[in-house]
Amino acid sequence: MNEKSANKPMIICISSGKGGVGKTSFTVNMAAALTKQNKKVLLIDGDLGLANVDVVLGINVRHNMRETIEEGKDPASILVEVEPGFHVLPASSGVPEMANLSYEEQIFLTNTLEGIIDRFDYVLIDTAAGIGDSVLWFNNWAKTNIVVLSPDPTSMTDAYALMKVLNTRYDRKEFHLMVNSAATKKEGQSVFDNMRMVLENFLKITPSQLGIMPHDSHVAKAIRTQKPFFITFPDSRASKAIAQIATTITQMN
């Protein structure tokens, strides 16, 4: 886990398999929490065809990665500064072609991104749901893989399926699990323990526990106001959990 050096950013890919488990909300708030710790953060909207990081953050974007891929536009000129030290690289919404990038386009995109990430301490990628090509590609490009799951059988199955594909086909072995929307800490711990058991039994890999985010009504409220709950409701249970997770991530260096 010692990916981050003095000059290289730590590239973290956040995926979930299933949609709607709070992956984007978690990623946006983690970016805000890392920024508060004086880290320079780049948040890449990896949901290339159905982007919504900009929606969750309430920012207006005029340009996005589609222009980089289709017109060769410099991604540095697309970056949106949310607050000092926190930048977003937006993607397009409602463009099916972007959700299915070709092999050449994927290589072009990551090569282009390599050119702008060095100025940051952390690069967070909020991927699309599912196990499509771009999801797998971003997970392989990143050095650190975070998988978000909730105490829901469909979420657990999809999260496991994602890790199984990444492990079986791409030899990825290190996963950091974040259990979201747990009714109680005990429930969240059970979800993690069970997932670890299945991963150990069948894939022979041991995930690490990144954290447990309790169910918190402030999360939904913050999404409606299009602001990170970490900023709007800093004393909420969710914000405290995010702060702890951000600290854990900085200690991975």
Partner: protein, 241 residues
């Protein structure tokens, strides 16, 4: 000390360059004069597109005019977009290295066409290729097609497209597909042997025209089994009870 280089020195130099080129992801094309003497060695990045190579070779041909560049050298561009069978193993090795780097799979299709003009078959295949794909003519009837970044599902679809394109030109084709995944540890020769074995299987009476086996192992292995599902959320059922 001043010494004038002789033709023998040049030959040694080029031979050494060729050996070195073999170790890197580059292709080399010999530039020879009409009398078959070696004028130079053209090294190009493996990723260079056929049109770029063609343009570069045209410029080279122009600069070699004084030496009456051999006519067959004009075909070098074609040789680049369709490397020789000798280069096949080297290309596969390069692609395997790339798989390890990008963690994306690579497919190899061996195609056999019956009773057809090889150039027509090659043209039909080329219609279906992307610019990163590599086509190699192995002999009069067999072609190797390397599809970087392509898993079994996509390779099978491409094979069907190639089959259809050839069918349109009146050629019947049989194909064997092998896949190299990031966690595979076999060699270029093994991959080639797997694809050839699948081709042989496709040529058996009553067999499917497109056969594959190696990819199934990895792709099926990704399917979440009933046992895995049972363990995944069995504890939720226990808690509910």
């Amino acid at each position: 000390m001043k010494r004038i280089a002789t033709d023998k020195d040049s030959a040694h130099f080029f031979a050494d360059l060729e050996v070195q080129a073999d170790r890197y992801p580059v292709r080399s094309v010999k530039i020879t004069a009409k009398d078959r003497s070696l004028l130079g060695l053209f090294l190009m990045d493996d990723d260079a597109e056929a049109c770029e190579i063609e343009a570069a070779l045209s410029r080279l041909a122009a600069s070699f005019n004084g030496h009456q560049l051999a006519a067959e050298n004009k075909l070098a561009a074609n040789a680049c977009s369709m490397p020789s069978p000798d280069q096949l193993r080297k290309i596969i090795r390069t692609e395997i290295d790339r798989v390890q780097l990008t963690r994306l799979p690579c497919s190899l299709i061996i195609l056999a066409a019956d009773k057809s003009e090889p150039s027509l078959v090659a043209e039909a295949i080329k219609e279906c290729l992307h610019h990163v794909d590599i086509l190699v003519q192995m002999n009069d009837q067999e072609f190797a097609i390397i599809l970087p970044g392509t898993n079994l599902g996509k390779a099978t679809l491409r094979a069907k497209t190639i089959q259809q394109a050839n069918h349109t030109h009146g050629a019947n084709t049989r194909m064997g597909i092998a896949i190299y995944y990031a966690n595979d540890r076999f060699t270029a020769d093994d991959l080639l042997a797997q694809a050839q074995a699948e081709l042989a299987r496709s040529q058996q009476p009553g067999a499917e025209p497109i056969c594959h086996v190696s990819g199934i192992r990895a792709e099926d292995a990704c399917q979440v089994s009933v046992e895995e599902r049972a363990q995944l959320f069995g504890f939720l059922v226990k808690d509910t009870n």
